[in-house]
């Protein structure tokens, strides 16, 4: 299977994809919360489905995640995953509401949900447009959806299409972190291209695979 056999140049290309997409999104994020946002070097993981959950802290871990479907020349999904504490912090920053709680039993305030949806919209949109510019591939994003729930429950939805082909996912993970925010858990941009999309990405960037 191709996913077990990424060459080092292919991995580098995918890392660069994560870099460019998340770099753009991090800039947008910095403007939204008015502080510097650091970005880690992207990692390319060939992960079993269980390991996908571990990337964001385990299947039980509550997270706030925005997900968009990509259609067009390539297909796949982009997730922007935050810890609950980070999502509350960012929603507070953006709305000016001091005490936003997402998991206190009562349904979260509408303004918090709207803020997170809009943040997700802006960030995933800028992630994708950078990718589209870089690869010259047409990518259309769906309306983003927000989920506040266990990481396993949210991320497994993104693996369903892929799971018909494989028990592994190639995940391009870029972590970001607001500089003055001391929370230990980082936000993650996860890009999960569908299996057929890798060849298109590599071809678009001038990397040709041996098996073709």
């Amino acid at each position: 299977m191709m996913e077990h056999e990424l060459s080092s140049i292919e991995k580098d290309v995918l890392k660069e994809i994560g870099n460019i997409g998340a770099g753009n999104a991090a800039t947008a994020m910095a403007q939204l919360i008015n502080q510097t946002v650091d970005m880690a070097v992207p990692t390319v993981n060939i992960a079993a489905f269980d390991e996908v959950m571990e990337i964001v802290g385990g299947p039980d871990t509550p997270v706030a995640a925005v997900v968009i479907n990509i259609t067009g020349d390539i297909t796949g999904k982009v997730y922007f995953v935050l810890s609950i504490a980070e999502a509350e912090f960012i929603a507070s920053q953006v709305t000016g509401e001091p005490d936003i709680q997402l998991l206190n039993g009562a349904p979260p305030k509408t303004i918090a949900i709207s803020a997170l949806q809009e943040i997700g919209n802006i960030l995933t949109g800028s992630y994708l447009s950078a990718l589209s510019d870089f690869t010259q591939l047409n990518m259309v994003s769906s309306v983003p959806d927000l989920g506040i729930d266990m990481a396993g429950a949210i991320l497994s939805g993104g693996l369903v299409d892929l799971s018909q082909y494989s028990d592994y996912a190639i995940i391009i993970d870029t972590r970001i972190k607001g500089k003055s925010h001391s929370n230990r858990i980082h936000g993650h941009f996860l890009l999960l291209p569908d299996p057929g999309s890798f060849t298109k990405i590599f071809n678009a960037l001038g990397v040709y695979r041996d098996d073709e």
Binding site: M53, D60, L103, M150, A153, S156, G157, Y165, D167
Partner: protein, 165 residues
């Protein structure tokens, strides 16, 4: 208080069998369905974390039989009826099959939760295995834990707390 019992964990698209005093758990069920098939007289139970309804959807060479409702239930039943028992003496409890996102697109894969639930029920009915209780649908993630000693299925969600079915 009793000693905490050891818990066997089942990952996504996996299945396992336990015997009391072990408990069995799977975490973060969204559109996936957790199927527990058990035999209280033997204090044994099997749990599968099912992702897809039907193995005919598979486009992979090496079929992961734990991933699909039809094949996973076949495996569980086979493992639990090894002493010449009829499958209909077994009982089941199920949880999961949520719709985590309401996408505006008509993407069929987003309907996978209800499809998984329907496929599990149909397969259990074929074996004559009765579903004793269920907590399916909705839009919450679930973590479930089953005790083959008592037959109780413990369900936890992040929004609505814990229930036992």
């Amino acid at each position: 208080m009793n000693e905490p019992k050891p818990v066997v964990r089942v990952g996504i698209a996996e299945l396992k069998i336990v015997k009391s005093p072990n408990m069995i758990r799977t975490s973060g069920l969204g559109s996936c369905v957790g199927v527990v098939i058990y035999d209280l007289s033997q204090k044994t139970a099997g749990l599968a974390h099912i992702m897809l309804p039907d193995s005919s959807l598979a486009k992979q060479a090496d079929l992961n039989t734990s991933k699909y409702a039809d094949t996973a239930i076949d495996v569980l039943v086979k493992k639990l009826t090894s002493k010449g028992k009829r499958p209909s003496v077994l009982k089941a409890k199920i949880a999961g099959g949520a719709e985590m996102f309401q996408f505006s697109t008509s993407n069929e894969s987003m309907r996978i939760g209800p499809r998984n639930t329907a496929a599990v029920k149909e397969k259990l009915a074929q074996y004559g295995i009765r579903i004793m209780s269920e907590d399916v649908g909705g839009n919450s993630g679930r973590t479930i834990e089953f005790d083959p000693e008592t037959g109780r299925l413990h369900i936890r969600t992040v929004h609505k707390g814990e229930t036992i079915i």
